[in-house]
Symmetry: C2
Subunit: 252 residues, 2 copies
């Protein structure tokens, strides 16, 4: 039932429990793919998605956007090297620049970021304690079960906590708060309620945030990027346990 | 702790259990807001978000996008009627058209859709049975806990089931599948693993889909739209119970 291309299996991580027990374990993460849809030769949109059913995704997206009504308008459609090229019969006014959206909204130009310094260290029990406090802080989630949250911590306190319908919005709010206060988030840790995607790693790297911890799981591309940018990724940080996927040397 | 503006309280819904018990109940849903960020007089982006901390969100978003580095570049920032106007000191090349993203990617031009016909009816127990099958179908979720799923059903079978990292992508895939097969989704029911936001209602309305059922919760704006477009919204469809928020007359 599972298309093998959508899951990366046997990925190694370090599992740490609140009683101090550590062991290496293996699990699966979702694969994150970057799909560009070209319409009549021009890039129309870039989506962060799972790498399956890309032609369906391109067609459904363009129909959702009102660009396309039925297959009669499609002269040709080709999936090649993970991208989709559509030739439509009529004239289509293409967007003046490629929109990047889907999972999120980050620009690909952010890919030239520098690695984060390795100076910060933190005890595993601190991360678990902060994750617990972070989860407890989400009052809106408790009553609606319909929002995400993000927070920054100096490892002692949750310094700023924000919620939003959108995963990206919650993160942008905490960093926007730092901008307004004139307080740099450099060296602070980012806590998330939702998935750690590549865009979250890029948002952290841009601010020199060395560690991202989430109640949920990371994607494969997030882990590749985090490894390259020296960012420690902690997933499934709940129920007295967490998984350290990248740069475990920050965790004492 | 909760800013009252982010939660709509005492919203009435019909709770139906698999044993046939029905009662009217009340609960809270997350409020969905449409924020347009203007930079130097031009609309930069429209985000679907929670209606709190909009100035922080605008600043954090522009920093994430690399448009802004610190507050020294900001000459003026004003939040007015739910939108944010920024005046930046330097010249900024604004996007040639407003990007719509955040929670999702739908264009606002979709708001002129017609209501869906009221002809379809379905037994409550069928919806609960289908929701159970839908949840069981998510093989990728079971191993990664990092994807969303969407499906279409004729009330007897799950006809098409797709998964993706992105909530919107999963839905676009199932509708893209219908396009490719030349089979109309008109009258079919949409099942979702994630939040029912206004954009999901618009995607359904565009295809004349009369019912959306989710394992998760709806937003207030989704419910307003669904009411206007005659779409039945079922939330929290799990553990032998579900909540019918709009157009309950479709549920027998």
């Amino acid at each position: 039932m599972i298309k093998s291309s959508t899951v990366k299996r046997d990925l190694q991580y370090l599992e740490i429990s609140s009683d101090g027990a550590r062991h290496t374990s293996k699990g699966s993460v979702a694969i994150e793919h970057t799909l560009t849809i070209f319409v009549n030769g021009n890039p129309w949109v870039t989506l962060f998605c799972s790498p399956s059913d890309l032609t369906e995704l391109a067609l459904g997206f363009l129909e959702s956007e009102g660009v396309l009504k039925d297959m009669g308008e499609v002269e040709d459609i080709v999936e090649r090297q993970g991208n989709v090229w559509l030739k439509l019969k009529g004239q289509v006014q293409s967007p003046a620049h490629a929109i990047t959206s889907g999972g999120g909204r980050s620009s690909l130009r952010e890919l030239d970021l520098d690695p984060v310094p390795l100076s910060e260290r933190v005890k595993a029990t601190r991360i678990l304690e902060l994750a617990r406090r972070f989860e407890d802080s989400s009052e809106v989630w408790k009553v609606t079960h319909g929002v995400h949250s993000a927070a920054l911590s100096d490892t002692r306190e949750i310094l700023v906590f924000r919620e939003d319908l959108g995963r990206h919005n919650a993160v942008d709010k905490v960093f926007g708060h730092c901008l307004m206060k004139g307080s740099s988030p450099r060296g602070l840790f980012l806590f998330l309620s939702g998935r750690i995607s590549s865009e979250m790693v890029l948002k952290a790297a841009r601010r020199k945030v060395p560690l991202i911890a989430s109640l949920a799981s990371p994607t494969d591309k997030a882990l590749e990027l985090a490894q390259r940018l020296n960012i420690t990724v902690v997933g499934s940080a709940r129920d007295e346990r967490m998984r350290v996927y990248t740069v475990p040397r920050r965790i004492l």
